[in-house]
Assembly symmetry: C2
Homo-oligomer: 215 residues x 2
């Protein structure tokens, strides 16, 4: 398999965690989202992924896009270790956490949105920081409340082993820390993220460990 | 089952289509997203859904949030008619289309984001319209290119019966039309949306047909 990835991309980070948890080897193809106006916009990359976003996973002759679709695909083809619970209602809960982060927090703070706000609307850096923090705060606050109230939470979002919910949570926590957002008010979330970082797969997938990492 | 819904909400619209396609009856609980500052922010509704977003589906004692997690849940418990293909690679393709719309287009143009742009950043109505059109245009253009190149496209995104991809596509097309965005440049997408509207389930789920519909 070949993964088109950018070290800081949350969506790429999710797929790296899943591949590491399942012990699947892959070739790393770096796509620099800033250099030269963004390599994701190049004609060569657009032929791989018409959306011009990372990640893309090539599995033999197949090209897969959208990190959450890739996670489900990996789960279906390589079911062990399982990244989803066995009962439908629990799967719905795990997916709802994953989608809450992947649909309602991440896309609003994505690079291209921040670029549009700066370059087209012309907001200041302070406004951009406030925007970023606002959406993380809203998303993480409601998620903390949801997790605190759910008896399925253990070492991880569901019980004591990681699922796609944790795979979405850890990159979001990484992003929050990168933007110096204090997570003290979110004890359940920080505890789960801390437990994840005890696992080698999460450490391997960390942005700092990637071939294209920059300080 | 009981569905907390707002007639114009794309995410609610998706779940309404799935329930109708699978022939599942439900009670409709209207949550007005604008009236009184937004009923989704009320304490009563926050107890149902801490995110303060629609839809929420109650299925007996279970409360489900996040439209795409609900679609997967309905598919697992009520597999006929199938809303996902049988092969993993085709499921990944269908999910990638669904997530492209649900993650990369819809959240950026969601009500609360538009409200923040107007009320906190103070952009003009023209800038808001330009923002809205920009993200739809980017998302729909790349999706059209993807669908044009994929031999799996038939009457619908995958073959000749609807999947979760069409369930996400139709509300997005409805939104684009609501904002007078011309879809002439997207013949595959408009053709598929037209085919969907030949089916009674898509017609029943249309915003105009809901108990809380306004003109």
């Amino acid at each position: 398999m070949k993964l088109y990835s950018y070290f800081r991309s949350s969506a790429s980070y999710r797929v790296r965690i899943a591949l590491a948890l399942k012990g699947l080897p892959y070739e790393y193809a770096a796509v620099h989202l800033l250099r030269g106006g963004g390599q994701q916009h190049s004609e060569v990359y657009r032929d791989v992924n018409p959306e011009g976003l990372v990640p893309t996973l090539e599995d033999g002759a197949h090209t897969l896009t959208q990190s959450l679709a890739i996670l489900e695909y990996l789960e279906e083809l390589h079911p062990s270790p399982a990244l989803l619970p066995s009962e439908a209602i629990d799967r719905a809960y795990v997916r709802s956490v994953a989608f809450q982060l992947a649909c309602d927090v991440h896309p609003i703070n994505n690079l291209r949105v921040l670029q549009y706000l700066s370059q087209t609307i012309g907001i200041t850096d302070d406004q951009k920081t406030a925007w970023y923090r606002h959406w993380i705060d809203i998303g993480i606050t409601s998620l903390e409340k949801k997790l605190e109230a759910d008896r399925r939470v253990g070492l991880f979002v569901y019980g004591d082993s990681p699922t796609i919910a944790d795979i979405c949570l850890v990159p979001q926590v990484w992003n929050a820390r990168r933007f110096q957002i204090s997570l003290e008010r979110y004890p359940t979330i920080t505890r789960i993220a801390g437990n994840a970082m005890e696992l080698d797969a999460f450490v391997q997938a960390d942005p700092s460990k990637q071939p294209d990492a920059e300080s």
